[in-house]
């Protein structure tokens, strides 16, 4: 029977009415809650519900267009030399910017065996101080000791990337993303692997990873920017 008919059916009485009312009201309250959270997510966190376009403010459209035109003119002057370089320089430069602009802090120091813990503390401290050679030495020792967990491999890969060892960064990070036992940092590893491929002049190999990131919300725009330049 249709729910709308069932709720008003005179034969629905006693325990059956009680059970139905509970389920019906729970469904309503769950839906209310989801609506409220969806609104907060959209307004405060910029996470849109599926199938909706970002909200636009009509009244400001003309100013946005004027701003966009002005920005384009300024950009044309600023980026003038770039138009005469090979497009390769564009995505290489953008990848460089993304590598440099937001250093990925290591806050993943673990407990465990004391020697390994010391190595990890040393590695993480060196990494955060951008002493990547020392970080690599310590992470390598953890790997050699057979005690490496996902975070060690991830930050080893990042240390190679920041150090400019792109080939080693690719080897480490691609091993990381292919390892199904590693649960943490998968998306981040894909992003940095894409940057490593670009820096290693293998942009085609970067594309699938960027496309994957572009589907999500984290670094979506950055991935799109790089894909645009790679086209």
């Amino acid at each position: 029977m249709d729910n709308s008919k069932k709720f008003t059916d005179d034969n629905l009485q006693g325990e059956e009415l009680e059970a139905f009312t509970e389920k019906f009201l729970r469904a309503k309250f769950d839906r209310d809650r989801k609506k409220r959270w969806g609104k907060i997510l959209e307004e405060k966190h910029g996470i849109n519900p599926p199938g909706t376009e970002p909200r636009r403010r009509k009244g400001r459209t003309i100013y946005l267009w004027m701003g966009a035109v002005a920005a384009a003119v300024v950009l044309l002057f600023l980026a003038y030399p770039l138009f005469f370089n090979a497009s390769e320089n564009n995505y290489q430069q953008l990848a460089d910017n993304y590598i440099q602009e937001e250093f990925f802090q290591n806050q993943e120091i673990s407990k465990g065996d004391q020697d390994i813990e010391t190595l990890e503390i040393n590695a993480a401290t060196a990494y955060n101080n951008k002493a990547f050679e020392t970080a690599i030495e310590n992470y390598d020792k953890i790997v050699e000791a057979g005690a490496a967990e996902d975070r060690h491999i991830f930050f080893l890969g990042l240390s190679h990337l920041y150090q400019g060892n792109y080939q080693q960064a690719i080897e480490t990070l691609s091993g990381f993303v292919e390892n199904e036992d590693f649960n943490s940092f998968q998306l981040e590893a894909s992003w940095f692997l894409a940057l490593a491929y670009i820096k290693h002049n293998e942009p085609e190999k970067a594309k699938p990873f960027l496309e994957e990131i572009q589907k999500g919300s984290w670094n979506r725009q950055k991935a799109q920017n790089l894909l645009d330049l790679l086209e």
Binding site: K23, F24, L25
Partner: protein, 263 residues
């Protein structure tokens, strides 16, 4: 009387002098709240006492050297635990639960909605879920998580893991319409409610709006917030029997309005 050199102190003496500095350091450098800093301080003291259980009188320098490692380790351990629990310490978590039981979900919403993105990315990255499916599964997991926290079936420990696993389960169970292939005994997601058509829920919304505030609160508290009639009756200084009758009247009113709206 035991003869001591000028720099030898007991753990208690050392700790009395050192504790205020440690707390201040934890609050300033790590942005811990006072209660969290106290907990880390207690853990540090426990480790220190355990390390020097054989001889608790040592030169100050020895305690200092030991503390350099212990403080770093305990602080990191605490931060990792908080990280696993959406940045909440156990005390903050307990505060949040207490408020949720009183009907205030504001902390829950701030904490969990700010990690919605994380879970969304996790489902997309781990299971290659589409944005739409990942969004729905995360939302369903959040609703279930909220209930689980209130009824204490979910407790402090590794909330982040639990939340993402729960969202994963929803993804498999509801979105892909498949049976869970690897049941996880610790993660018990609620059975699906009967499917109610959107149209029926829309009518219910309209009927609900016609109910008085008293009936709305009574039905919501009883059917959604798991309050018993005895608790509700006590709050309103009425007998449970009177409350039961009032609840029945409210349901009949709601059914009446629903019938009106359905025509």
């Amino acid at each position: 009387m035991e003869k001591r050199g000028p720099y030898i102190v007991t753990i208690e003496q050392f700790w009395r002098r050192f504790l205020p500095k440690l707390l201040s350091h934890l609050i300033k450098e790590y942005q811990f709240k006072k209660r969290e800093a106290d907990l880390v301080g207690q853990n540090v003291l426990d480790r220190l006492e355990s390390k020097f259980s054989g001889n608790n009188s040592q030169p100050v320098q020895v305690f200092h050297e030991a503390l350099t490692i212990i403080v770093t380790r305990e602080t990191n351990k605490f931060r990792r635990l908080m990280d696993k629990n959406f940045g909440l310490s156990e005390t903050s978590f307990n505060d949040m639960i207490l408020k949720m039981r009183q009907g205030d979900e504001s902390i829950f919403e701030v904490v969990f909605l700010s990690h919605f993105d994380f879970c969304l990315n996790y489902l997309q990255g781990k299971y290659k879920a589409s944005y739409e499916n990942a969004y729905d599964a995360t939302m369903n997991a959040m609703v279930a998580f909220c209930k689980g926290l209130k009824d204490e079936s979910i407790t402090y420990g590794n909330l982040k893991f639990l939340f993402t696993q729960m969202a994963g389960q929803y993804y498999f169970k509801w979105i892909r319409r498949e049976k869970i292939q690897e049941p996880m005994p610790e993660i018990d997601i609620p059975e699906e409610q009967d499917d109610f058509e959107e149209a029926s829920l829309n009518i219910l919304d309209k009927a609900w709006d016609l109910l008085g505030e008293g009936c709305q609160k009574l039905l919501e508290n009883f059917y959604y917030n798991n309050s018993t009639l005895i608790e509700i009756a006590k709050k309103h200084e009425k007998s449970p029997t009177a409350m039961r009758k009032q609840k029945q009247r409210c349901i009949e009113k709601l059914r009446g309005y629903f019938k009106q709206m359905n025509h």
